[in-house]
Symmetry: C3
Subunit: 484 residues, 3 copies
């Protein structure tokens, strides 16, 4: 007989079709909350035969899909090999009476602790369950899936289900079930990882916290600086009321500073890492923690830079819509007429503006390419060379364009005394310091003596006497000097 | 002997490597159309041995990849366990002569009915095939994959293949094949689902139909209203020709109304659902159908709101590019000179505009974050808490910003008689009604008495005597008050 | 006993739990570079038991995760069935001493040649390895994954691992391992494909090369043309200095031309393919190579068109920000006053601008829908009908809107002599030629005689005597006349 396909063989290991179990595989569920019901719905929909264990089957039955069998707990756990435990941690101990029936079975812990519970117990829910039922195999799974995602079904098919447990076979069983239900299972290792897995649904964008605070901090500082220069100084010195500039003009002077400094902060850690490697003469040495974290948050910093640059563009396009712009124009025209001047034209100013605007648009266009490429579905379709070309090469071009944009905007103002208000230099001169330093350093690294040494180090070469100590997971980052 | 890996064990259940079948698994295909050929190409490319059954093998052979064996139907179906039926429904009966050879085999129905056929037959193609071949196992699969996607190969690797059938083992066989071919199989349940699965390729963005019609309807109504106020009234009352405003100005007054009303329609159903739960004292009761559908279409309504807001921004940026803007400015300047006024400045107008523009940009920036987060690849990488933070919290901030934007735009106009044209109030006053109501209701729900009761209900508490009846799949939506 | 789940059965083929191997599956690794270490880290994290073979185990041990066992090569390869070969090609031959221990095992070649090596050797690394170890089964895999992606773990879970090899069972083993490690395996066929698979990480956005060069070429040509008309001609003929227009105005006149021509180039190959099919009377005939490539690059050309259209919008919004715009306005006002004209208004100009701007925004909005729909994660969620509706129907609407936008921009200028500078016609007349031709052809294909014949051909009908010859993979593209 021809047995061409892997799965057929699976169910047919002794060669006779007669023994193939025709009935659907049986799964037990303990619990009757939202999650239990959504789970039952999805399991039934995926072809499993579901038995729900309840203390009060009559009352509970109406809540479950009609194809799920609802019965007493003792009965429900007797026949299936896999039991989902969908009850709160505080009720785990109430299941101890079922210990005998559960012996040798796989218990799937789907629970999620609240923030408070997670801080309170140092033992994960899953490990606690395992300690209560030493004769069972406990697998942690499905906790990262919401009841809603379980019900939504097919459309959320690419969602990952994180699975951990101490017994590989049990994990495989649950992985296969997750796959049948339309999820992508992911092995997270032993049950000791359960605490980490349980913490995942409690996270709130952890990788964005520091970069966002950084960006907001920069915004506040630059806003205050610009407010002093553009609003306070004219008021104090010349008694001019420029307070109307606060909602829009001052914001628009602040945004590009933040965007520009953030963009340079994307490239700074790469430069520092290279410098450190050059000095140490090896890449197999841990970076300091702060540098490590910085290297890992470049994507977020780059995206925030793009967001601020985008807002800067929108604010700039709003400038001619302002009433004050209209008034200024009309008043200028009236002044011209009264002064009997026939033609107003300053060639240098015209050139400055045209170049400056053009470069700004190009820099924004370049940054938008970087932003699009950092979308997960696009980043996943690029190979390393392509990703590094876009993020590293094009990103550096964007930094150069922004620098020239800023320089053209500043023109000669940095050298004119009347632009130093309260002795404060124009904002753009401050923002230029960091990026110019980075560009300089990148230039230095191109010198043959340094570039050759760096290339050797990155291929694995080590200076004699270089201290070699590496923790897994740390020695890679220096190599990936890409961003956004 | 060491048998470390699951798959090895699979092919090696009795422990001797000698018995592992070295030849590729065999698959049969009946049919010679585009789909059959693409299927053969992909199967051959994925390591299967393909036998194509044709009535005229000589004529057909040239159309298939050279590695596929093309022969007579009777011969083609004799040896493989899995036969793909890639012929039109009307030709199914012509295969009846093969019934004996097909006994016990898996027939995969890959057909897609046309719109007309789908309406005409109440029985799905797959069920019809199953009724013709009662001794075979029919599995519906691959119909959602186009011939093009089959050929495109690797690049479309994440595409889902929906599979349904009555025999779990057969489904698993086909799932495994789909996976080997680089697709993600998804079990859709029994063969009774085949009609639904066959309907999927006939769909045309069903979840967008109602929201799009709603948005267009709103656009038409608001456009007519604005046309009457901004163009018709000046023409009738003051004989002023403002018809030139129709292509741009009136559209730009209409777009923000539509965007703003749509955004509030995203948050309204959540408020209604909460009110209903509070009144009923339980969450385990079905919402009315209309509310249910509304809750499920919030994402689409939110994205349309963003699209209209985006267009509003683009139209606004076009305003100073208009020739009429230039003429108005020049005429204003000339008027100033003739009136011998030296300086034009209205402080209040200046402030109004600066605040209003700034808030508009911020609201758009916030909406763009929501839009980006609703991209499938990003939404899938967020946990429930993060998704809800972005869509619910940030989304509500965007609604608040839009409201203040609208209020600043309106300023005191709602209370000035000359802004009531034909007794019609300014458009912005109309659009404010709904969002202000929602913000008020959200504020009410924050009152301790209501917020505590709501929290209890959402944790599963029920008022005594609350009618408890729930259909699976309905009781979740109230909880997920998120959008976009 | 109840054996409900497929995976349980797998590990339990004889029915007794006692025999289930409790220990993790064993995997060997030869090599100690970055990739070997990252691989070891990931394998250990995914529950495998890892043995690393080194010539100097003492020196190497510190570099690997503590759970990985580091020993001499001979010892490391003796027990696992699967050995990862993570050494450079030039060291393959040094492994020959292990040939006896390796007999019958699976060797996984994870190597990536450098660009130079790839050009130098006509035999892939994997095939070379296979030739050295004829008694082993060589599988090529994981080379497309970077060491970084291996370590990043869970977050990169959707990444594809391309696998090829001559023995299906070995490929399945490695596929299953890849899946356990959180990757999506994809079968690429026999080991003969290894060269192709090894070339993938060397690629640099190959599908973008020709479209990008095309776009840049068009940009240079149109820029030169516009420079001659807008800057050089005034300088030569009227001695006017308009060189300040170079950075912004001329660029902004050039960008829409490029965007518009690119958009029409998206629809041209579909028209040519249809014409060819009509003439040949069959769809089963290869298109010429150039047409084939063109059809396959429509998405990239469309996205570049959108990028240039976007830049055009940004540049346009910058126009009123220019200093020259301000000067022109003021000078115009002064001129008006001096000429004693009280009101400036040209009704026709006003209408032209309003219509033209409005259409431009709509066309851009439409193109942005197309661009969003071509994101992989969204494109994958659409069925063929939806994808074709968006890309083909909405895309054609965008082309029509752009055409009317261009026509309104041009207005009557094409017929006025003073717009022919140096006898060169206005740029917009040039760009209109191609799109108008395409729209005309599309109109022609709607004629009953042609549309019926075309529909018949696309359903598979063939003219008598039509030469029938088709290579697999070529006959589909004509059908998919969609873009972006």
């Amino acid at each position: 007989m021809d047995k061409p396909l892997i799965s057929r063989r699976l169910v047919d290991s002794d060669g006779s079709l007669a023994e193939v179990p025709k009935e659907a595989p049986k799964v037990g569920i303990l619990g009757s909350g939202d999650f239990a019901r959504s789970l039952a719905t999805r399991l039934v929909g995926s072809g499993f035969s579901v038995v729900v264990g309840s203390r009060n089957p009559k009352r509970t039955a109406g809540l479950f899909p009609s194809l799920a069998q609802v019965t007493f707990q003792e009965e429900a756990v007797s026949s299936p090999e896999v039991i989902f435990v969908a009850v709160f941690r505080e009720h785990y101990s109430s299941l101890c009476s079922l210990a005998d029936q559960l012996t040798g079975k796989i218990l799937v812990d789907v629970s999620n602790p609240t923030e408070k519970e997670h801080l309170q117990h140092c033992q994960s829910n899953a490990e606690y369950l395992a300690s209560l039922f030493p004769a069972c195999t406990v697998v942690k799974a499905f906790n990262v899936i919401s009841a809603w995602a379980l019900q939504a079904g097919p459309r959320d098919g690419n969602r990952q289900v994180l699975i951990c447990g101490d017994q590989p076979e049990a994990k495989r069983t649950i992985s296969e079930m997750a796959r049948t239900m339309g999820f992508t299972p992911l092995d997270m290792g032993s049950l000791a990882s359960a605490r980490e897995v349980e913490a995942i649904p409690l996270r709130l964008l952890p990788s964005w916290k520091v970069p966002t605070l950084l960006a907001l901090g920069l915004f506040v500082c630059f806003y205050a600086y610009n407010f002093i220069r553009d609003v306070l100084q004219p008021y104090v010195r010349k008694d001019e009321n420029k307070f109307y500039k606060m909602p829009l003009s001052v914001v628009n002077t602040t945004l590009p500073c933040v965007a520009y400094v953030l963009l340079s902060l994307v490239y700074l850690p790469g430069v520092l890492a290279a410098a450190l490697q050059l000095r140490r003469g090896t890449k197999y040495q841990r970076f300091p923690d702060w540098l490590d974290h910085w290297l890992q948050h470049r994507k977020q910093i780059g995206l925030l830079s793009f967001f601020f640059a985008m807002l800067h563009a929108l604010y700039s396009f709003c400038l001619p819509l302002r009433r004050s712009h209209r008034y200024d124009l009309v008043n200028l025209a009236v002044k011209q007429v009264l002064a009997n001047k026939s033609r107003l034209w300053v060639e240098e100013e015209v050139w400055r503006m045209e170049i400056y605007l053009s470069l700004g648009v190009l820099a924004l266009g370049m940054l938008s390419l970087l932003a699009v490429t950092s979308l997960p579905s696009i980043a996943n379709s690029l190979n390393w060379k392509e990703f590094s070309f876009v993020q590293s090469t094009l990103g550096f071009v964007a930094l150069m364009l922004s620098t020239v944009h800023t320089l053209t905007y500043g023109w000669t103002r940095a050298f004119e005394e009347n632009h130093y208000k309260f002795y404060l230099p124009p904002t753009f001169t401050l923002t230029l310091l960091l990026p110019c330093g980075i560009i300089l350093a990148k230039g230095l690294f191109l010198l043959p003596c340094l570039s050759r040494r760096l290339a050797k180090i990155r291929r694995g070469w080590e200076k004699d006497g270089a201290v070699k100590f590496v923790l897994p997971g740390d020695h890679m980052q220096g190599e990936r000097t890409s961003h956004v």
